[in-house]
Amino acid sequence: MEAILSTLINGLSLGGIYAMIALGYTMVYGIAKMLNFAHGDIIMIGGYLIYVFMATNNPLLAILLACVGCMILGVAIEKIAYKPLRGASPLAVLITAIGVSYLLQSLAQIIFGSASKMVMVYEFGAVKLLGVTIQVSSLVTLAVTVVVMTALTMFVKYTRLGRAMIAVSEDKSAAQLMGINVNRIITITFAIGSVLAALAGLFYLLKAPSVSNTMGAMPGIKAFTAAVIGGIGSIPGAMLGGILLGVVESISYKITVIAPYTDAIEFSILILILLVRPTGFLGKKRREKV
């Protein structure tokens, strides 16, 4: 019972991280219609920025600066790499994104070296809840994720800017005719996504206090998987997919026989779900006309 509960809480907090990253993927996909493969590496840059700014000995300041840094980076990537390719074939954009991803990884390796760095952001300790020892950092992760998710849903639903985002995701040219500055909306989307990635980087550091130049690659792919499971382009879908994937992962790690195959299991779930629901759980089905 205790084992089940602690596995569940671990899974939920891991799922929260995945959901946070998946949100970045899903928003960028919804609005710019592109797969931003470099998103996972922004997590890594976020981790390194926290590592650098921890020199100030002030965790909150370090986190804030890392968020701002990632936001600037995300917007810069969009302006330099993706904006000239607007309207190009999806493949060209995808390859560019993969290129940006490797560029960031190699840059980090050149600047910080290939050995991973230790970063202690903050020691939360553990509490006993219903007889189960739980890491407080897991609870913090979960709480922050829920808050961010709610805030983001509110933002998209009730503010002018959020509604403009929905309009752009539904029909870019119609939105432009209605007086929405599409480029600005895309920039804002990238900024929000990158801040979420920086937060995800922070939560990874709370889970395991080390940062390396490849730390973002696998979480990035998994979060992308989560976004697709939930239905890419849908914010609640990203949350759902992320939590599902996180819980599956933590359960699978607990069962010795299948633990080494955890990645295979997660990706098989993706394939199975897409077979039953080709657009994910909450994705919209679009009819195509000739």
Binding site: L91, L94, E288
Partner: protein
Amino acid sequence: MRIGKLKVNHYINYVVIGLFTVVMASITLTGGRFNNSLLFLMEKMAISIILAVSLSLVVGFLGELSLGHAGFMCVGAYLGGKVASLLVPVMGNGLLAFVISLLAGCAAAAVCGVIIGIPALRLRGDYLAIVTLAFGEIVKSLFQNTSEETFGGTLGLSTPRYNKYYLFIIAFILVLITLAVVQNFIRSKHGRAMTAIRDNEIAARATGINVTKYKLITFIIPRLLREWRVYCTATATTQCKALSFTITIPLRSWSWWYWAAWAASTALLLPLH
């Protein structure tokens, strides 16, 4: 460009590669020996041509994004390599063992192509991309968890290496075969059906083209072709290890991702028209 009735574009590939192969092969066969870096470079060239050509079939002519090539390559390389390591002690490290293991790897990759292709091709565009990506990750995970006796686990599989001075000749012959298959396929009835699907799937379906069938065909052919290059990659990387007599090749599945991205950009730069 036209000379008389010949469309030069279609044949220029054969001429250039054929000439190159003949010249290099005749130097080798008359006793000349290239140094390791040149050999490695030539093998790599052949390998990336095969990959780029086969990838352009799926991405360029069918218009579907597939990120799973790395996974299929992995299957082909591992099984081909395994067959080779079983055959070589029995029948010696000759051409026959090489060809048999090559065909075995091809078959394995093609079977995988069918298995993943049938369900995956119900999806389109980005969803297909993510499923193929997932397949690649699954394959990686499965091979990394094998025991040392079967597929080498995380250390990779060691496979016998074909004579390094002659390998590039075989690689370039495979390039020529690949080119012939792909270029003829594209200009056949089937190839035209494929481009019709790319240009407009619904319209293609309306004119009576079996879309799924063609997609499946296009998914399998590159698998077959790709395996050739994989086996060559496997045999070529030994030189990186520079273990002159141990003739072992670690096949590390984690690096396949990089190959796919690289080759896809090559395929983009050099469209086969």
